[in-house]
Symmetry: C2
Subunit: 221 residues, 2 copies
């Protein structure tokens, strides 16, 4: 038997238990935000849903806004990671478009709450949360810029020749389109594959049209 006891078999260690409660608070908040707003859910509701005392909340977050910031990192961080793992193997630009939208649609389908939260709070919420979202979206745009500049899209625009300012304007166009597409997918009824397909089709056309414009773009200030 162990004469030291750093990790008893069934009972959880203290930091483990704390992390678990913290995660439970995050999950509960996301749940409560299905039909509502970060600023319209109360600290007490969240703790009630988890099954702890209101006071216990303060051991994890100074206030509800900070919990919101943590949620932003959880939601967009995971999406960014997912996208990073599948960014390679680019071929024709149409293929890239279809693939990207497919990934986005799957993510929205699997993590509705995450995207709903981001769409809700992007312009809607507390300054701190908005800033956190803006920061993550800027990271998206920056990563997209390096990917586009580095890789060769067969039959697509020669992004490697673009000046920085134009690069930023086109990546922000893509990122905004992504966020808008996610929001449109959320507005579609969750079970109707038909409505979802329509949104995906329209989004694909829009991206193809933008790509067409980018190919023609002469990069002069």
């Amino acid at each position: 038997m162990n004469h030291r006891h750093p990790a008893p078999p069934d009972r959880l260690s203290r930091p483990e238990q704390k992390a678990r409660t913290r995660q439970a608070l995050l999950d509960a908040a996301l749940d409560l935000m299905e039909h509502r707003n970060l600023s319209s859910i109360s600290l007490r509701e969240v703790t009630r849903a988890v099954g702890v005392t209101p006071t216990a909340f303060y051991h994890h977050f100074p206030d509800v806004d900070s919990l919101g910031v943590a949620l932003v990192d959880e939601c967009l961080g995971s999406l960014r990671a997912t996208i990073r793992t599948v960014r390679d193997g680019l071929n024709s630009s149409d293929e890239v478009i279809n693939r990207s939208i497919g990934i986005l649609a799957r993510q929205v389908h699997d993590h509705r709450e995450h995207f709903r939260f981001i769409a809700r709070e992007r312009h809607g919420g507390v300054p701190a949360v908005r800033a956190a979202i803006a920061e993550q979206l800027d990271l998206f745009a920056a990563e997209l810029a390096t990917d586009l500049a580095g890789d060769k899209l067969l039959g697509g625009p020669r992004f490697d020749r673009w000046i920085a300012a134009d690069m930023r304007m086109v990546t922000s166009l893509f990122v905004n389109h992504m966020v808008w597409t996610a929001a449109a997918l959320l507005d579609a009824p969750p079970d109707s594959t038909d409505a979802e397909a329509r949104v995906i089709d329209a989004a694909g056309r829009q991206l193809r049209l933008i790509m067409l414009g980018a190919r023609q773009w002469t990069t002069a200030d």
Copy 2:
């Protein structure tokens, strides 16, 4: 002197007074939403700001959400009217682009609260308000579609030949871009003409790129 008294000179008639209070409630709500959210302002706050009893509120709106719906009509209705009055006299497509963005920028500059409200509540808020916003934006897209199809843009895409589905996808692209541009203008500090100019410049480039793509677009399903 008047022997009938339909409108006494200094005192206001009853419906006038009622309309005035109603408008005061709308204005006060918009004011309170400068840093906050429709669902996080309270009925009592609004009435307090106007200087009437909480109970008086119910003579104008059944609840705060309905006030929100009324605000949507006020904000987007006025913008739609403004745009309608200046939609004529189109020339080259670049000119149209610059003109449209100019109008938008001026409107945002003059009615910050209106656009802030729309951006906040578009995906953020109560279902009724979101629906009202979506309806108004669809109206925008429809009007834009008829304008584009009817007029001849010199050097621009021949929109009059497009099929309906593609027309919808491109107008929704424009409307979304408009909303996003408004939001970006709001995020810029209100006094800095420099930041504002950068946003306007980027938005113009994006629209020109989209127009370039539209010109190339072959309308096949």
